[in-house]
């Protein structure tokens, strides 16, 4: 099977994630969508690595996972503290600051 298809899939996932960020309200889901985008990137990296026949892409993928994990830590910390304050995870509630 042509590895290029994996690229299409990656692009698709990335787009789904991006759109998800735009349409979903729940902060957690939003955040998961971002993670989806990151994973799309990973898929793309691995595919390219395969195409080029060098390992860089895969190594980068590992880095990405670590970074993603770190992001989860920070992100959840923030989101949870907000949730405890407002008893809601909807990002639309956090709009005290505008204009």
């Amino acid at each position: 099977m042509n590895p290029v298809n994996y690229l299409y899939l990656a692009a698709l996932l990335f787009t789904i994630g991006a759109v998800g960020v735009l349409v979903r309200r729940n902060a957690i889901v939003l955040f998961m969508c971002v993670e989806l985008m990151l994973n799309a990137c990973n898929l793309a990296l691995v595919t390219f690595s395969r195409l080029h026949g060098n390992l860089d892409g895969q190594i980068i993928a590992f880095f990405t996972m670590v970074v993603a994990a770190a992001e989860v830590v920070v992100g959840l910390a923030i989101i949870v503290s907000v949730f405890r304050t407002r008893h809601s995870a909807s990002v639309d509630d956090t709009n005290l600051m505008k204009l």
């Binding site: 390992l55 990405t64 923030i78």
Partner: protein, 542 residues
């Protein structure tokens, strides 16, 4: 990462060669951060404040000293080269920006350490601008208890150190992966620091959420761009990418089938651009700036506004000038558009702002536009001008936000402009200093703002971007309007009876403001030496 093919037989793994000396500035900061964490764990609470401040300052001082040493030793010019297997570039721009960042960080830490402004806690302990216990729900008993017992989130210092470390690495990063990692390393701590305000915690948390979500969003774009560029070039090392783009690299047959496809390259470049433009706060990726600047604790805002811009523009310069000079004809027009949009939108929207911090946020957007004109210049002057502008701008910004921390009333800082009416009558000195900063923002001659603006515009003009210069000039006329408005408010309108009080700061904030003012004037009146420095440092290694 040296490429090695699966087909080859297993040779002994070559140990990577690391130039520790060249990397030492960053190592010093990261070291300080780690020590800070340990201190957080082991030092008893009442000593933590002193210890942490000490560690942070020590680390920064060491880093700055090392930077100076490296510059002295010629690593900025003659010995400039790639370090850590081509992952990090130690050259003029890196060292210059790292120097600026460390200085900014020092000033920022001084402000973080300010404990004279907030009223003492129930237990009589002096407290700083940060939440006593970030985890506690605002308004809950837990928080109240923490407040009365005079707790303090001393974690702020290690976080700052990590952020600074990332920022030091960001403009020096010489391959996309390092750049991505550095981006995250300095972003994640900032997200947290935004959430740590002592007053108005809801705003603070909201700022954190917004900053975090959007930041993550943008870094996802950056990463996808990275992937695509890797797909095109088969490498993430700037030099290699540049060679592939120019077609001077030896193209392996494996590369051939992707290299043909410029779409990969261009889309990748655009998406990398999104990540960086988000960090510098360029239109239309600027919308986080006002909210985050307003919500975050003011000292953090100052630090963020100054240091992030410096780091991000440094990275942008390196990316565009080292990795994609071959694509100048593709990205220049786009940046033209972004720059114009940023300058105009920033200036125009700021006109109707009513909150000092939001006002400064939009002005920072406009300034991002001005700096972009320098980036677009695409010549030696351009780099030097941008470096100088960043240095000048960051200190003005720090000073301005430091002043904001001093104008307070019962519930913390009085940031609504109407409350600033007649400040000039109440405390002329403070008002005068703030006026100085505003004039620098407006680019009035004899302030650093003017010199910087002149430098970038001049570079842009000689780079053939005269229209940009004219747009820039007109939008700075608009911008001048709202800076002037604040000055009018402070000096020519009558003070309100219930007006805010101006807190008398300790030496810490005092130093911050004084430093800001001095730099503003010196860079305005006698910029020769610093321009020289910036121009000397304007050579990027590949």
């Amino acid at each position: 990462m040296t490429g090695m093919t699966l087909a080859a037989a297993i040779p002994p793994i070559p140990a990577p060669h690391i130039e520790y000396l060249q990397l030492s500035p960053m190592l010093a900061v990261f070291g300080a951060a780690l020590v800070g964490i340990l201190a957080e764990a082991f030092v008893p609470r009442r000593h933590r404040y002193a210890t942490q401040v000490g560690i942070a300052l020590a680390g920064l001082a060491a880093s700055f000293g090392l930077i100076l040493y490296l510059a002295q030793a010629g690593y900025a010019t003659t010995k400039a080269d790639l370090a850590a297997m081509g992952a990090v570039a130690v050259d003029g721009p890196s060292l210059f920006l790292q120097g600026v960042i460390t200085l900014v960080a020092v000033v920022a830490v001084l402000q973080f350490a300010e404990r004279r402004l907030e009223p003492r806690s129930g237990a009589g302990a002096a407290v700083d601008a940060f939440a006593p216990e970030a985890a506690a729900v605002p308004g809950s008993d837990a928080e109240r208890r923490a407040a009365t017992s005079g707790h303090a989130t001393t974690e702020i210092y290690p976080l700052t150190m990590f952020a600074v470390g990332g920022m030091l690495l960001f403009p020096a990063a010489s391959d996309l992966l390092t750049m991505f990692v550095a981006l995250e390393v300095f972003s994640l701590p900032l997200y947290l620091m935004c959430a740590l305000a002592r007053r108005r915690r809801l705003l603070s948390q909201e700022a954190a959420v917004k900053y975090f979500l959007l930041g993550a969003f943008s870094s996802a774009f950056f990463l996808f761009g990275l992937a695509l560029v890797y797909g095109y070039a088969g490498s993430v090392q700037f030099g290699q990418i540049a060679r592939v783009v120019e077609g001077t690299a030896t193209v392996t047959p494996a590369l051939a089938n992707t290299t043909g496809n410029d779409a990969l390259l261009l889309i990748g470049l655009a998406m990398l651009g999104v990540g960086l433009l988000f960090k510098v706060g360029a239109v239309p990726f600027h919308m986080w700036t006002p909210d985050v600047y307003q919500g975050a604790p003011t000292p953090v805002t100052g630090f963020m506004a100054a240091a992030t811009k410096v780091a991000a523009f440094g990275a942008m310069l390196r990316l565009l000038y080292v990795a994609f000079p071959g694509l100048a004809w593709d990205w220049r027009p786009v940046l033209w558009g972004v720059a114009i949009l940023t300058m105009v939108a920033g200036a125009v929207i700021a006109v109707t702002q009513t909150d000092v911090k939001r006002l400064l946020a939009y002005s920072s957007v406009a300034h991002a536009g001005f700096i972009l004109t320098g980036v677009i210049a695409l010549n030696q002057h351009g780099i030097g001008a941008v470096l100088f502008y960043l240095a000048a701008y960051s200190f003005v910004t720090l000073g301005a936000f430091a002043v904001v921390t001093l104008v307070r009333d019962a519930d913390g800082e009085a940031t609504h402009l109407s409350r600033w009416a007649g400040l000039g009558r109440r405390s002329p000195l403070l008002a005068a200093v703030f006026a100085l900063f505003l004039l620098a923002f407006a680019g009035i001659p004899l302030t650093s703002g003017f010199t910087g603006k002149f430098a970038v515009f001049q570079a842009a003009a000689s780079g053939g971007a005269m229209p940009l210069v004219i747009v820039g000039v007109l939008s700075s006329a608009v911008a001048a309007f709202f800076y002037i408005r604040v000055i009018v408010l402070m000096f020519f309108s009558d003070p309100r009876a219930d007006g805010p009080t101006v807190a008398v700061p300790s030496a810490l904030t005092g130093t911050a403001i004084a430093l800001g003012a001095v730099v503003t004037v010196v860079l305005g009146v006698a910029p020769e030496y610093f321009l020289h420095l910036a121009n000397q440092a304007s050579l990027l290694v590949r």
